[in-house]
Symmetry: C2
Subunit: 295 residues, 2 copies
Amino acid sequence: MSAIIIDGKKIAEQIKAELKSEFELLKNKGVTPGLAAVLVGDNPASHQYVNMKEKACRELGIYSEKVIKSKETSQTELLDLINSLNHRDDIHGILVQSPLPDHIDEGRAILQISPAKDVDGFHPINQGLMLAGRPRFLPATPSGIVELLWRSGYKPSGKHVVILGRGYLVGRPLAAMLALKTEKGNATVTVCHTGTPDIAFFTKQADILIAAIGKAKFVTANMVKPGAVVIDVGTNRIKDPTHPKGVRTVGDVDFENVKEVAGAISPVPGGVGPMTIAILLTNTLKAARKEFSYA
Amino acid sequence: MSAIIIDGKKIAEQIKAELKSEFELLKNKGVTPGLAAVLVGDNPASHQYVNMKEKACRELGIYSEKVIKSKETSQTELLDLINSLNHRDDIHGILVQSPLPDHIDEGRAILQISPAKDVDGFHPINQGLMLAGRPRFLPATPSGIVELLWRSGYKPSGKHVVILGRGYLVGRPLAAMLALKTEKGNATVTVCHTGTPDIAFFTKQADILIAAIGKAKFVTANMVKPGAVVIDVGTNRIKDPTHPKGVRTVGDVDFENVKEVAGAISPVPGGVGPMTIAILLTNTLKAARKEFSYA
């Protein structure tokens, strides 16, 4: 029996449709929401992500500005740039595309973003408020996963969620969000990672398995409990001579085989990716509305 | 076979002895560290905790100031009080004793504390920095538990840690700290709570079981894997007519029976409690040294 495919693209389109009328209300009040994306260096995947975000912005009538800096940009220059964006009235949201070159302290750069314009939800104060159960801007990918589960009817409450990966962008905030006593959380959560001796021991217990470990096809069919819900957060580029570009993107899950065991599964692409962008747009709406004060 | 007793009091004394010389160095530079504890209302347990903290401060030559406000104190009055403490040069650390009366928004009060004086480590920015793997002031109780495990030789790395409880003060930050890729972390972490249908299923898997659920003697012997390390964070007051005060404090663990199954166990009192105070003193030293800038 083949798993139900969780269509992240479709759910993201629903969210965007909901947002469209909200953005139009704002425009009628004379506010054009603005999002600035800062790119340092020439990582092709980063440029592709930012282009996708820009396209989504245009669809909703958000003013979108791409600021491209060379990979030699110094930390001071980057902090100054972020600071100038913090002070611009026409820019409501700022995102600094990860990864940054090695000579730049990424955590320091994120700290520089005004919390009120932190539409990626990575600023420590927004992460801390999330952890405190007083969420403002939620981190885009974890929040996208929570929304994907919720809107596709796979509610985590009372379930055992096993997360593979403990990164700052996904695993850590997601673990907190899913364990919180909220309508969309309330799960028993286990976090596994490279320091877990026998990952399969845990994955086989999962009612909901979320793979964010950054290894192509890491989750194999024998690691999955029959009927489990599997969410694939991976975006790994692998060589594929049959593909026009010579590479293609695969997730952290061996999709073809796992879908024969799982009850439901999100694909890559078309699963978590579009949801991340939908949350980014949701956060941009909140920022343009100036919903939160951090004074 | 009876478990090894993890002596938190003794380990806390070791930490205090290490801190003593550090505090003396500061004094030789003319700095008298100062800690203010704010108490609202007349919760006897809160008064007892603050008195214990004051006593520990005096031992190390820290100036300690107890600010007691009536339970009718308004939110605005409390925020103004915190603000005035933020601006005092002789006060390096501020703690607001939990719980606050119901009419006060505790999260808002914590946000008012200057992050640079947040020796309890509860301010969202300090929690967010912890989650980001850039720790400054670590939350006192979770950090005390990490230190208790480390110094008693029960290293969590590669082990399965099961945490009972998802509160803001212990469970949530502790889960993040123990899963992080650090020397004192690197554990596979499961968080259980009131929304977990079968808690014993998880506790029986735990190499290290940490109970912070706030229910007297909740963890019974049949819930514990033989040889496991059990850390009891609970401080529950139960009636006991044989006790001079008519009440006594017990943990979340049925100590007498669990110690026959566990490999090691921390008692209540004398386990986590003294460690919390030791970390509070550690944080007060860092605050008095002005180790961190949040500008």
